[in-house]
Symmetry: C2
C-alpha cells in the first residue's frame, strides 16, 4: 500500500511521521472510556515524574471523536469504546500503527470495568493480617480487581468466533500467563488491594447477554439468571465484560504480549444495577491504573522487586 | 423496581424527573459519533427555529462519556458509539427512559455512515433532468444516501442473533416500510440528493467482517473479497454498517417505529480506505441529517407535501 489511512484514529502514513511519533512505545494501555484513558495518561505522567503540566497532555486523535489517544514517554493510553466491534476497529488500526512505527517488544494491557461473580478463592498472601484476609474472603465484592488468566465466551469456551466474509473462524483467546502472574505479584505490593486471578467472560450484550433482569427486554426469570451465573462461576469465571475475547485473540495473532485487568463495579450474584456513588466508582476505576503503573515502573527499573516485597509485608 | 439507574446515560428515576424532561419526545435520532449528534441537534435547533444560541445546547448525559444526548423540542439526538454491543446498551437504557417518561408515538431513526456497494438500481424520479439521472446511474458513489428497507446479517439474512444467557435467539430485523417509503419521498424534495432504498448489511467487524484487505489481519484474497461483496450486492445489499440489525430488532420488539438512513463514505467495490477529505466527509454526513430534518418538519406541520412536490420538480 502506497498510503495507509488509519481512519478511526485520524492518523496516516503520509500525513504523520509514525516512527517519530510512536517508535519508542513499549506499553499500550487501552480502556473503554475516553475520560478514564486521559486520567490514566495524567496518572502515568506523575508516576514517571515527567516534567510539565499533566493537564496539557494532547489527544493525538483529537481530529476524531471515535477514540482518544495520549502518549507519556513509552506509554500509550488509548480508548476503545464499548463492545467487541468497537475495540476491534481500534486494535486493527493500533496494531498497524505499531507496525508502521517499527515498535518492538510491546506489551498491551486492557484496563476495564466489569461485573464480578461470587465468592473468591482466597489468596493467602504472605504477611497480610487477619483483617485483610477477612476482606479477601468476602468474595468478588465491588472494587475487587480481576486479572484474567483466560478470556471465555458466553458458553465458557476460551475462544473467539470471528466472522470473515461469510465464514466463521474460531480463534484462541489465550493470554500471556507470565504477564498475568507478574501482575498478580505486583498487586501484592499495594496495600488494601483486593485482587484475584480468574477467567473473564466476554459477552456481546450488557443486558440479556449477561443475564440482567433490568433491561428493556428480558425473557428469563431470576432463577434462570442465577443458575447461569453460578454455572459461569463453576466454570472459573470471576468477572464479565465485553471486550476481552477479541482483544486476546487479535493480540495473540499479532504477537503482542497481552493482559486484561478489570475492576468489578457490582457483584452480579447480588444484583444487576450499578448503584455505587460517582466518587466510589471513580476510586475503583483507579485501581487497575495503580497496578499497571507499578508494573510499568518495575519494567522501566524505577521500582525494584525488593521494594515490592517490602511493601507486601507492611 | 424501586429505582432504575440508567447507568450508561447517567440518568435515573430517582435522580431525574424523566416525564418532565422527556415526556414530549416524538423523534429520537441516533448515530455513532457524539460530535455528529451534537451537530444534528444544533441543526434541528435552527430548522425548528428555536430561540437562543444553538451553541448553548446542553449534553443531558454530560455526567458520563459513554454517550451524549441533546434535546431540541420534540427531538432527541443521542450518540451510540460503534458496533452492535455499544448501540444495544444505549437502546436498552433509551427505551427504558422513554417508558419511564411515558412517551408515546415515538419514531426512532438511526443516521449513520456506511460503505456503499456497487451499481444502483436507477430510481427514475419525476422531473429530474438528464444530468441528475446520469449522476444516479453512477451507482452507490460516496455521498449517496441509503434508506434501509431491510437490515441483514453477514449471511444476508434479515435476522439478528441475540445471545440470551447461553442460548441463541433469532429476532426479526424488519423495519417500518411506510416510514422508509416516506423518507424516500422526502429525499425527492431535496435537490442534488442521490438517494436509494436497499438492504443494509450489518457486521460485527469493520475489517475482516466487511472483507477489507487493509486490516492488521487479513486471510483472504482480493478475488474472494470481491466475490463476497458481489454476492451481497446480488442479495440486495446496497450498504454495510455495524448497528442496523440489533437496532431494527430491538425497536421492533419494543414497538418503536424505526428507520435507518446512512450515507456512504466509500464504494467498497472500488476500495477499502476512506480517503475523502475532512470537508467532503463532513458534507456527506450532513445529508442524512437534512433528510431527517425534512421528515420531522413535515410531521410537525412546518412543511407540507405540496412544498415537497414543488421542490422535487425544480
Amino acid at each position: 500500500m502506497d498510503e495507509d489511512v488509519l481512519y478511526h484514529l485520524d492518523l496516516g502514513t503520509k500525513t504523520h511521521n509514525l516512527p517519530d511519533m510512536f517508535g519508542d512505545t513499549k506499553f499500550v494501555c487501552v480502556g473503554g472510556s475516553p475520560n478514564r484513558m486521559k486520567a490514566f495518561a495524567q496518572f502515568m505522567h506523575k508516576e514517571l515524574e515527567h516534567e510539565g503540566d499533566d493537564n496539557n497532555l494532547k489527544d493525538i486523535c483529537a481530529g476524531t471523536d471515535r477514540y482518544c489517544m495520549y502518549k507519556v514517554g513509552p506509554v500509550l493510553s488509548v480508548s476503545h469504546g464499548m463492545g467487541i466491534p468497537s475495540i476491534s476497529i481500534m486494535l486493527h488500526e493500533l496494531i498497524k500503527l505499531l507496525h508502521h512505527a517499527k515498535c518492538c517488544d510491546v506489551t498491551i494491557i486492557r484496563i476495564g470495568t466489569s461485573g464480578g461473580l461470587g465468592e473468591q478463592r482466597v489468596l493467602l498472601l504472605p504477611g497480610r493480617g487477619d483483617a485483610d484476609e477477612k476482606q479477601l474472603r468476602k468474595g468478588v465484592e465491588p472494587g475487587c480487581v480481576v486479572i484474567t488468566d483466560m478470556a471465555v465466551d458466553s458458553f465458557f469456551k476460551p475462544q473467539f468466533e470471528q466472522v470473515i466474509l461469510d465464514s466463521v473462524v474460531t480463534r484462541s483467546t489465550e493470554l500471556d500467563q507470565d504477564l498475568a502472574s507478574e501482575l498478580l505479584e505486583c498487586s501484592r505490593g499495594i496495600k488494601d488491594f483486593p485482587t484475584l486471578m480468574g477467567h473473564t467472560m466476554c459477552t456481546y450484550d450488557f443486558y440479556e447477554g449477561q443475564g440482567r433482569l433490568d433491561g428493556a427486554l428480558c425473557s428469563f426469570t431470576s432463577e434462570k439468571k442465577l443458575e447461569y451465573l453460578k454455572r459461569a462461576y463453576d466454570a472459573g469465571v470471576r468477572n464479565i465484560e465485553m471486550e476481552s475475547t477479541v482483544f486476546a485473540a487479535m493480540c495473540r495473532l499479532c504477537g503482542l504480549k497481552a493482559a486484561v485487568v478489570c475492576v468489578t463495579l457490582v457483584n452480579r450474584l447480588e444484583g444487576d444495577q450499578i448503584k455505587a456513588s460517582h466518587d466510589v466508582l471513580a476510586e475503583y476505576q483507579q485501581r487497575p491504573q495503580q497496578l499497571i503503573a507499578m508494573l510499568i515502573k518495575k519494567h522501566l527499573g524505577l521500582i525494584n522487586d525488593k521494594k515490592l516485597l517490602d511493601n507486601a509485608v507492611v
